[in-house]
């Protein structure tokens, strides 16, 4: 009923300063929590996407027993007839790309210097949108032609190498014999990830298989999916459909469990901090509303004499708090939403890369922004405001008319 809304609104205006302080407390508290949330969401999503793209892919497949010895990069625990496996994987719904690889230790010799790095044999076609292919700064990506290698800027600098230089690669084959091939530096990449730029050498799968005498074999297959949400489903399908092939299937969550549990812990810490901020704002509302009830005891008695029921008295004070909550909510969502929108487009650039997550230097973080999120936080503020007013409103409605009217 309009009259209740009118009474509630006018009563809020009666003590402007107190209402304003509560309103600002709700607004700023909500803005703060909203910004926390938007940034955590954005950064986590960005980090997850990044992690998947640069480190693990959505799903990794190895021959049975490989993961256990992964550190040693065993070439004898390989996926056989990888072309058939790859073809079958490509047919699964939701799979965007299937990238067979061989991962192996290799010694790079420039003639004057030798250094051990990580070798990666890739299918150039399958990884043409990958982290390396898109970050070639000199020369060109692998074309499928034999005898070319890609290296990172840092490695090139360390070894004093430039485009077109010749290298000798030496490695132990799957059978344990030594073998060597010569390659030319066809391209140099700068990904920003130190583990790529410092110490990786990339070859075509064909060259790697030639060097390691592993024709028809790979050590891992990396799947990228259309959407991260489908990871579990596709992983299950592979486990079922390839159960006889002796393969191990791992998702990015499993591969990054240590890091993701850290992210989760941070999310929970933020949730607790948010709760504290909200609790403080809620206590502010409780206090404001209690003061409002206690200084209007006689007025409550009058309204009761006029025939307002206890329920209507309660509603009056709940409505008052709801208006405060809505006003504060609008302010909070306005300020928080505007900042989030800004940071979701422009981003926040941090030049000092964090050590533990191993992100590229000069990373820009983008906040997550969505209207649904703003709506959710507004409703949340409103809910907190009404909940906080329950007790004061109850006190108001429990007044005995006679005692209330006698109140000085």
């Amino acid at each position: 009923m309009w009259v209740f809304l009118k009474l509630a609104a006018r009563n809020l205006l009666r003590n402007k300063r107190r209402s304003a302080i509560t309103f600002v407390a709700i607004g700023l508290g909500l803005a703060l929590v909203l910004i926390f949330y938007g940034f955590i969401q954005g950064v986590d999503k960005q980090f997850t996407d990044d992690f998947i793209k640069a480190q693990t892919g959505h799903i990794q497949i190895h021959a049975q027993g490989y993961r256990e010895k992964a550190r040693l990069m065993p070439l004898d625990i390989a996926i056989q007839d990888f072309e058939t496996v790859t073809r079958r994987l490509k047919e699964l719904p939701g799979v965007r790309s299937v990238a067979p690889r061989i991962r192996f230790p290799v010694v790079v010799s420039t003639g004057s210097e030798s250094i051990g790095v990580l070798g990666l044999g890739i299918d150039p076609q399958a990884e043409r949108d990958g982290i390396v292919a898109t970050k070639i700064t000199q020369g060109k990506y692998l074309s499928g032609e034999r005898g070319y290698a890609l290296i990172g800027t840092k490695l090139a600098d360390d070894l004093g190498l430039k485009l077109g230089d010749l290298l000798t690669l030496m490695a132990t084959t799957a059978r344990g014999a030594l073998n060597a091939i010569d390659v030319e530096i066809g391209g140099i990449f700068t990904t920003g990830y130190s583990q790529y730029d410092d110490s990786i050498l990339i070859l075509s799968l064909a060259d790697a298989q030639r060097l390691l005498r592993m024709s028809g074999q790979v050590t891992e297959i990396i799947l990228m999916l259309d959407s991260t949400d489908q990871t579990e489903r596709v992983a299950r399908q592979i486990q079922q459909g390839f159960s006889e092939d002796g393969l191990e299937v791992q998702t990015w969550q499993e591969l990054g469990a240590a890091i993701f549990s850290l992210l989760e812990a941070r999310r929970q810490l933020m949730a607790i901090l948010s709760m504290v901020v909200i609790l403080i704002a809620a206590l502010g509302i409780v206090n404001t509303m209690l003061m409002s009830v206690f200084e209007r005891i006689r007025e409550i008695g009058t309204l009761m004499a006029l025939g307002m029921t206890p329920g209507e008295i309660r509603g009056l004070f709940l409505l008052e708090s709801a208006i405060l909550g809505a006003a504060g909510g609008l302010m909070g969502v306005g300020i928080g939403g505007a900042l989030l929108k800004y940071f979701s487009v422009v981003g926040l650039t941090i030049t000092q890369a964090s050590q533990f997550v191993n992100l590229p230097i000069g990373t820009t973080f983008y906040a997550e922004f969505s209207w649904g999120m703003l709506a959710m936080f507004f409703v949340f503020a409103e809910g907190v405001a009404v909940l906080a007013a329950l007790y004061p409103a109850y006190i108001a409605s429990k007044q005995e008319p006679v005692q209330a009217l006698r109140h000085a």
């Binding site: 009923m1 009474l7 007025e299 004499a305 006029l306 025939g307 029921t309 209507e312 008319p401």
Partner: protein, 230 residues
């Protein structure tokens, strides 16, 4: 032909004050007829307010019954009592008790809004009463912009606007100077005559009692005399 609006039957009221019990009413019986301009008179602390509160369904007796228009009010819940007050009663207070955030017009309109009276009818009734009480010019003033006498006129308008069966006024002149108080009593008397509204008011001022159609004297929680004016 007389019609009983309220029958107070052997009512007592006790208040607990810490460990002692205050007996505010010790067995009061009273009938109020429609159209009366009844004065409850007595010194301070004699029980006037207590009696008016019981008649006004703001409180319940410790023993005895208050029957309002044939209904025993002692059996009603807080919510039902609120509805009885809303529909059948009007109140005028010693301290006026207007809602401070509402204008004179809005204060008078409030009981009609609670009853769900339609816009047109509401406007008609509020204007008519503001006019009748001579406060039309203050319609858009808030209580703190009006004198005591003006505020009391607004509160009388507010009490009458729902056409209640009974208007209760607890010492309506006590916070006004004698001139204004007299004017207020005259006004109420006038409304009682012209509109046939039943009034019960309390006072300890002999000059105010003079206007009553009947004066019920109360002393130490008991009725000591009841005199009908000639």
């Amino acid at each position: 032909m007389s019609e009983v609006v309220v029958r107070v039957e052997n009512v007592t009221k006790e208040y607990a004050m810490g460990h002692t019990v205050v007996k505010a009413l010790r067995g009061v019986s009273l009938e109020i007829q429609r159209g009366e301009f009844l004065c409850i008179a007595g010194p301070s602390g004699s029980g006037k307010t207590t009696l008016l509160n019981l008649i006004g369904c703001l409180d319940k007796p410790t023993s005895g019954r208050v029957v309002l228009e044939g209904r025993d009010t002692s059996k009603l819940s807080a919510k039902e009592l609120a509805w009885v007050r809303r529909q059948r009663l009007g109140f005028v207070f010693q301290t006026f008790n207007l809602v401070p955030v509402l204008t004179a017009y809005e204060n008078v309109e409030l009981p009609l809004l609670l009853l769900g009276v339609g816009t047109v009818e509401r406007r008609r009734r509020v204007h008519e009463l503001l006019e009748a009480l001579g406060i039309r010019d203050f319609a858009h003033h808030r209580p703190d912009e009006m004198s005591g006498g003006q505020q009391q006129r607004v509160s009388i308008a507010r009490a009458l606007v729902t056409k209640p069966a009974l208007v209760l006024a607890d010492e309506p002149t006590a916070n006004l100077d004698s001139e204004t108080g007299k004017a207020i009593i005259e006004l109420m008397h006038d409304l009682n005559k012209k509109r046939d509204t039943t009034f019960v008011f309390s006072t300890h001022d002999p000059k105010v009692m003079e206007r009553a159609s009947r004066v019920v004297q109360i002393r130490d929680g008991l009725i000591s005399s009841s005199e009908t004016a000639m």
